[in-house]
C-alpha cells in the first residue's frame, strides 16, 4: 500500500513558507540492527531557519496495556532484570550535535554487545532531544524590568531492535470482546506473543451487521513485546437494534517499516457477536 499523498503533505509541511519556527525531522521512526553489521543510523534534518541543538541518548521501554485496555509506556534508563535490554551496549555518534538551518545530520548507532550474547532480540529506545540554539525571551519587560524566557526541548523516542540469530515470532489471540456505547464499539484484543522476537503487526477490526454490511472499521499498528490487550474504538454511528459481529484480524504487515523488519507469522483471527437491544 502506498501513500504518496502523505509524502506530498510532508513536503508541503517542510516547505520554507510553512516553516515558522524551530523544528527537526527524525527518520526513520524505528531502527533495526543486525548482529552481522552491529550498526544502524538515524537521519536528522532541520528544515527551520535556526540551528537546533540535538542530543542522542538511550533508554528502555515498550508499550503495555492496563486493565481497561489503555496503552501505557514507561521510559526507563535501563532495562529491568530479566528483560532483553540493549541499552547498556549501544552508542550514538555523535551524541551531541548542532544541526544548522536546512542541514542534515546522520547519527550512527553502534552496538558492542557482550561476546557471549545469546541468540535473541534485544530492545532499547533512542531519545533524540532537540532544542533551539537561542533562548527566546518571551516577555515584554514591565517597569520593573522582569522578563520571562522559556525554551522548548522536544524529545522524540523511537525504538531500536537488535537481532542475533534466527528468530521467530507469533501470536496467540485470546477471545476478543466487544461493547457498544455512544456510537462506538469498544473492542478488546488480548494478545500474547510467542516465539523469540517481538510481534510487529497491524490489528484490523470491523463491525458488520446481520446482512454482512460493514458498519465501521478501525486499525492500529501494534508491537507486542510480551502481552498486549489494547482497546480499539470502532466508530459505527447509531446502530439499529439487531445482531452484529466484530471481526478482528492481526497480521504482520506494516507498511511503515522497512521490508522484512516485521518478522513473518501467520495471521490470527477472531470474531464475536453482540446485540443492540
Amino acid at each position: 500500500m502506498t501513500h504518496p499523498s502523505r509524502w506530498l503533505t510532508t513536503l508541503l509541511a517542510l516547505s520554507p513558507s510553512a516553516v515558522l519556527a524551530q523544528g527537526v525531522v527524525v527518520a526513520p521512526h524505528a531502527v533495526f540492527i543486525d548482529h552481522a553489521t552491529r550498526s544502524g543510523s538515524l537521519t536528522l534534518y532541520n528544515p527551520g531557519e535556526e540551528a537546533v541543538e540535538v542530543s542522542v541518548s538511550f533508554g528502555f521501554g515498550y508499550p503495555t496495556t492496563d486493565s481497561a485496555g489503555a496503552v501505557t509506556f514507561e521510559l526507563l534508563d535501563e532495562a529491568p532484570a530479566g528483560q532483553p535490554g540493549a541499552t547498556a551496549w549501544l552508542q550514538a555518534f555523535p551524541r551531541r550535535v548542532t544541526v544548522g538551518q536546512q542541514e542534515r545530520q546522520t547519527i550512527r548507532i553502534l552496538a558492542t554487545p557482550p561476546a557471549d550474547l545469546p541468540d535473541g532480540e534485544y530492545w532499547a529506545r533512542i531519545i533524540v532531544g532537540a532544542k533551539g540554539g537561542k533562548v527566546p525571551v518571551a516577555g515584554v519587560p514591565d517597569s520593573a524590568g522582569i522578563s520571562v524566557g522559556l525554551t522548548l526541548e522536544v524529545r522524540t523516542v523511537i525504538s531500536v531492535v537488535y537481532r542475533k540469530g534466527a528468530l521467530t515470532t507469533g501470536l496467540t489471540l485470546a477471545p476478543i470482546s466487544a461493547a457498544y456505547a455512544a456510537d462506538t464499539v469498544a473492542v478488546r484484543v488480548p494478545m500474547t506473543r510467542t516465539g523469540t522476537a517481538a510481534y510487529l503487526g497491524t490489528v484490523r477490526a470491523s463491525v458488520v451487521d446481520a446482512e454482512g454490511a460493514v458498519k465501521g472499521q478501525e486499525q492500529r499498528a501494534v508491537a507486542v513485546y510480551h502481552d498486549f490487550a489494547p482497546r480499539m474504538d470502532v466508530p459505527v454511528g447509531t446502530l439499529a437494534p439487531g445482531r452484529y459481529m466484530v471481526r478482528v484480524t492481526v497480521s504482520t504487515d506494516r507498511s511503515d517499516l522497512p521490508p522484512k523488519s516485521a518478522l513473518p507469522a501467520p495471521p490470527a483471527r477472531d470474531s464475536v457477536e453482540f446485540t443492540v437491544p
Binding site: 537521519t43 534534518y45 514591565d142 522548548l152 492500529r220
Partner: protein
C-alpha cells in the same frame, strides 16, 4: 516506489530543492521507509508583561499559549509527556533568585489533525497523554498546546527568568 522516492526527496535532496520545488537527479544512495517524525515549535509560551506581585496566567486555548505541531505516521498512536520547571532562575542575578511557575491540571491540550483554539482534549501536563494520535494521511499531525502561570513576588528582582520545558513524544 513513489513513496520511497518522495521520502528521499525529503531527507536527501539538497535544501534548495525544498525551496524551489521538487526535482530528482542523480542516483539513489539510501532508502527511508515510514513517515519521519517532525515537530515544529510554532509558538513559545508567552507571558508578555509580568508585574511584581501579580500572578500571570496564560490559558492553553489562547494565542499566547505554547504550541507545537508534531507530524508522523498517519493514524499512529503516540504518548505525550511534559517535564516542567517549578522555578525559573534569574540568569542575570546570583544563583537562588527564582520566580515560581506552575501548570494547572487543565493547562495542556492536544488536538488531532488541525490547529484550532477549540476542540481537542484537555489534559494535565504533569500526567501526559497515552493515546495521542496523528491525523490521517491528508493531515498526519497533532498539535500540543501549553499554558501556565508565573507568580512574581512583590519584591521580585528585575532580570530575565529563564527555564526549559521538555516535551517528549514516544512512538507506541
Amino acid at each position: 516506489m513513489r513513496r520511497l522516492l518522495l521520502a528521499l526527496c525529503v531527507l536527501l535532496a539538497p535544501a534548495t530543492a525544498l525551496a524551489q520545488g521538487l526535482s530528482i537527479n542523480g542516483s539513489i544512495t539510501a532508502l527511508v521507509v515510514g513517515t519521519p517524525i517532525t515537530f515544529l515549535n510554532l509558538q513559545i509560551l508567552d507571558f508578555a508583561a509580568v508585574t511584581r506581585g501579580v500572578p500571570k496566567t496564560v490559558a492553553q486555548n489562547t494565542a499566547a499559549a505554547g504550541k507545537v505541531r508534531v507530524a508522523g505516521e498517519p493514524n499512529a498512536f503516540t504518548q505525550i509527556r511534559f517535564t516542567l520547571p517549578t522555578q525559573l532562575p534569574n540568569i542575570q542575578a546570583v544563583p537562588g533568585i527564582n520566580m515560581p511557575i506552575s501548570f494547572a491540571a487543565n493547562s495542556a491540550r492536544w488536538r488531532r489533525t488541525n490547529d484550532a483554539a477549540g476542540g481537542g482534549t484537555i489534559f494535565n501536563p504533569a500526567v501526559g497523554v497515552n493515546n495521542a494520535r496523528f491525523g490521517n494521511a491528508a493531515n498526519p499531525y497533532f498539535f500540543v498546546y501549553l499554558g501556565g502561570t508565573v507568580n512574581p513576588s512583590l519584591t521580585q528582582a528585575p532580570g530575565i527568568y529563564q527555564g526549559t520545558i521538555i516535551l517528549t513524544i514516544t512512538y507506541l
